[in-house]
């Protein structure tokens, strides 16, 4: 396909804008990773349950935390201490929807 628009790798590319790289997602990803986690709603890929993360079953030990779905007990997330940081392993979490940390309007700013 040629023409005035560059090729589109997928339907998900918004408004036909050319793909960029991860740097361009820094602001938005930063928002996701900074959401208020207790009120953020987790959707389980295993059973389809939606619930605030505050209601998940969590087992904490020195290694980190295992976050399980209260509906089906599958592991949604694992958070582990690793040398020099933390590691998030995504299990059965299909989606996490939360309020922007600043409370700013969605889509506002850039």
């Amino acid at each position: 396909m040629t023409g005035p628009h560059p090729p589109r790798p997928g339907a998900g590319t918004p408004a036909g804008r050319p793909p960029v790289d991860g740097n361009a997602a820094a602001g938005l990803l930063g928002e996701v990773l900074a959401v208020e986690v207790t009120t953020a709603v987790a959707e389980c890929r295993g059973c389809g349950a939606h619930a605030p993360l505050a209601q998940a079953v969590v087992e904490v030990d020195a290694a980190g935390a295992l976050v399980r779905c209260r509906g089906c007990t599958r592991t949604l997330l694992t958070v582990l201490h690793v040398p020099g940081g933390v590691r998030l392993e995504v299990g059965c979490l299909a989606a996490l929807t939360g309020a922007a940390p600043t409370g700013g309007a969605p889509g506002a700013g850039g």
Partner: protein, 238 residues
């Protein structure tokens, strides 16, 4: 928010037979909402670290933070906090954490609070916030504790009882002298007698040891409270 802040112990006050209140000075603490908690970190001389969560009993702005800790026998952290920590000691905390188990004075709706043991701590913050704001929202607190000697904040809570705040106790092992009824766990009948009914549409906050929270939440759902109106915070244990 992941930053650890130095917390200097300002005061330690006995709060029950097995618990005490710790007042911390935390430079940089941004204030907190009623019901929020913090993570507390201890570091041993060999570098070993232990982290536990504690609810904040104080509420609002300011760098003074009040905790109330119950000693879990053979626990790693709580016996140290209840028996060994002294004024002047420095701990580390991070927070405030959590926006789910929170009550805000702007919320005009009725509220039912249900506490088991030290689970009363975040609910005390809510009762304090309710009183400080002179909120007309109907507030009720149902507190389950083993014996009078185990009750945190009893004199303060009793002094706050008024038209907008009702307080009820469930004594599971031993009641105060002259108390009508026999000691025992929270029952459906006890709940119905003390708690706001589902028709009043309360938001319900339940907090305490995990087993207590599960049992109380089941009773509430069986009484007709919609699960979506019941917010829970489990402290651990069985």
């Amino acid at each position: 928010m992941s930053g650890w802040l130095a917390a200097r112990v300002a005061e330690v006050v006995p709060a029950s037979a097995s618990g005490r209140v710790l007042v911390l000075d935390v430079p940089g603490w941004p204030g907190n909402l009623a019901g929020q908690h913090l993570d507390l970190r201890l570091t041993a001389e060999d570098g070993y670290q232990a982290v536990r969560s504690y609810s904040v009993a104080s509420v609002g702005a300011g760098e003074r933070v009040e905790l109330a800790v119950d000693e879990v026998p053979d626990g790693e952290v709580s016996p140290y906090l209840v028996q060994d920590v002294r004024p002047g000691d420095v701990l580390e905390v991070r927070g405030p954490l959590g926006r789910y188990f929170v009550w805000q004075p702007e919320d005009p709706g009725p509220v039912q609070l249900v506490a088991g043991g030290s689970g009363v701590v975040p609910l005390v913050a809510m009762v304090r916030a309710h009183a400080a704001a002179r909120s007309p929202a109907p507030f009720r607190l149902l507190c389950s504790v083993r014996t009078p000697a185990d009750a945190f904040y009893r004199p303060e809570l009793e002094a706050l009882v008024d038209d907008a705040f009702r307080l009820d106790w469930v004594w599971t092992r031993a009641a105060p002298p002259g108390w009508p009824g026999t000691p025992g766990r929270l029952t459906a009948a006890g709940l119905a007698a003390a708690a706001l009914p589902p028709e009043a549409g309360p938001t319900v906050y339940v907090c305490g040891p995990t087993g207590f929270v599960e049992a109380a939440a089941s009773l509430l759902v069986a009484a007709g409270h919609p699960p979506g109106r019941i917010r829970t915070e489990r402290f651990g244990g069985s």
